[in-house]
């Protein structure tokens, strides 16, 4: 079993459109019935919008706890406020209150309260979903707006996906990653076998690509790069390709700017299924073939490797 994660650094470069196209392109070939999909962008989970899968199961996701003051016991001393480093305790006309949005869940106030009026309360901060898409099972999740713990939710979504892949002996977990380089990104790349970075040839795209590549290097995940909307700014596209060459990273193709891409999004389809002959679709097919070739060259997935090692030992 191998895990391929689609990332970008900068948001809006086309990760989800690429992931959906790959899911479609994988459906007839050697990966037919071999893929499990995972949407790791839990605060903007959009893969569902393109694949329009049938929801099979939903479960609540419980995140961290927040502090709550019991008004009846509170002596209004304000000691809690003096220890809170997150400005989460506010004085109102009705007395001291905890702003659940600002509360970090550290419980410093709980320990400090002389009247034991503060308790920690578990919060349901999102939901897991398991769906059947036309291209394979989809594990996804929705973090409620403004919540924390996105790293944990991403980790859980990936674990559910890789468990199913192991149980059903499927060969590939295809992960649609979040933007940035922080907590949810780290959770979506750790242990992946290969990352495809979808970038765009803009000054911002190039800047963020460098940081994303450094992050992948830090976590030891090999990377490939493809350039979306490559023709919008050819100077930038050449700069990216030169940067990749200088750093020993394989470029796996350019995808042209193509109105078929937003068209497919509105239609709720993978662009390669919506307009198979559109320039973007043809380019994506070529990129997919190169990615498949690179995947077969990566060493067997970490789980398999460990098992092989055990069997030999």
């Amino acid at each position: 079993m191998k895990q391929l994660v689609i990332l970008s650094g900068k948001g809006g470069t086309g990760k989800t459109s690429v992931t959906a196209a790959f899911a479609h392109l994988a459906s007839p070939g050697p990966f037919a019935d071999q893929i499990i999909l995972a949407d790791a962008d839990v605060d903007a989970a959009n893969l569902e919008l393109v694949l329009r899968p049938e929801r099979v199961n939903t479960e609540p996701f419980r995140g961290g706890e927040v502090a709550v003051i019991d008004e009846d016991r509170c002596a209004q001393c304000g000691d809690c406020e003096s220890v809170c480093r997150f400005d989460a305790i506010v004085e109102t006309d009705a007395g001291w209150l905890i702003d659940p949005v600002a509360c970090e869940g550290c419980a410093a106030c709980v320990h400090q309260c002389p009247t034991e009026s503060i308790a920690m309360q578990e919060q349901t901060v999102g939901e897991y979903a398991y769906s059947d898409s036309r291209y394979g099972p989809l594990h996804h999740a929705h973090l409620y707006p403004g919540q924390e713990s996105s790293g944990k939710l991403v980790t859980d979504v990936r674990q559910r996906a890789s468990r199913q892949a192991l149980d059903e002996q499927r060969r590939l977990v295809l992960i649609d990653g979040p933007p940035g380089i922080g907590c949810p990104v780290i959770a979506s790349v750790s242990g992946a076998d290969l990352a495809l970075l979808v970038t765009e040839p803009t000054v911002a795209g190039i800047h963020d690509l460098r940081r994303a590549l450094k992050t992948l290097q830090h976590f030891g995940v090999p990377a490939l790069v493809c350039i979306n909307k490559a023709d919008v700014y050819p100077v930038g596209a050449r700069e990216i390709e030169a940067y990749c060459r200088a750093n020993g990273i394989d470029g796996v193709g350019r995808i042209p700017f193509d109105p078929a891409v937003p068209g497919a999004m509105v239609a709720g389809e993978a662009v390669t299924a919506y307009r198979p002959d559109a320039p973007a679709s043809l380019a994506l097919s070529a990129v997919w073939e190169r990615v498949v070739a690179a995947l077969s060259e990566t060493p067997a997935g970490s789980h398999d490797a460990r098992v092989d090692q055990q069997r030999r030992g």
Binding site: G151, T155, A187, F219, S302, H303
Partner: protein, 123 residues
């Protein structure tokens, strides 16, 4: 000696769980007598640092060795500091804790010489 085995369930027949920090429970077996006890993993609900919490829990149980499928860097560091030996068992075969224990006593499990993965954030 006492060995802790990560298992996916809270009953004696629950299968082996390849995860350490997020294992559902630990089965604590005394290799000399074969006696065992079951312990729910308190780290299951932790928002972060599950491996660290589970490792301290194992240490408090008095285990001298642990068998799981994978160890993150923080869990490994904590287990090492507690002088607990870490062993690996393959994760994608359904096996019972009893079978794992047999393999352990037979000396056929591989020791983990370090963290087996880079750590999951939020795990």
């Amino acid at each position: 000696m006492k060995v802790a085995i990560s298992i996916a369930g809270e009953t004696p027949d629950a299968p082996f769980d390849a995860r350490f920090g997020r294992a559902e429970s630990f089965c604590l077996a005394e290799t000399d007598t074969g006696a065992w006890t079951l312990h729910a993993n308190p780290a299951l609900s932790a928002a972060g640092g599950a491996g660290v919490l589970a490792a301290q829990f194992i240490a408090r149980l008095g285990a001298q060795a642990v068998v799981s499928g994978a160890y993150g860097p923080k869990a490994y560091r904590t287990l090492s500091a507690a002088h607990i030996d870490c062993f690996l068992a393959p994760g994608n075969e359904v096996r019972s804790a009893a079978e794992i224990l047999d393999a352990f006593t037979a000396g056929s499990l591989t020791p983990a010489d370090g963290a087996t993965h880079g750590g999951h954030h939020g795990d």
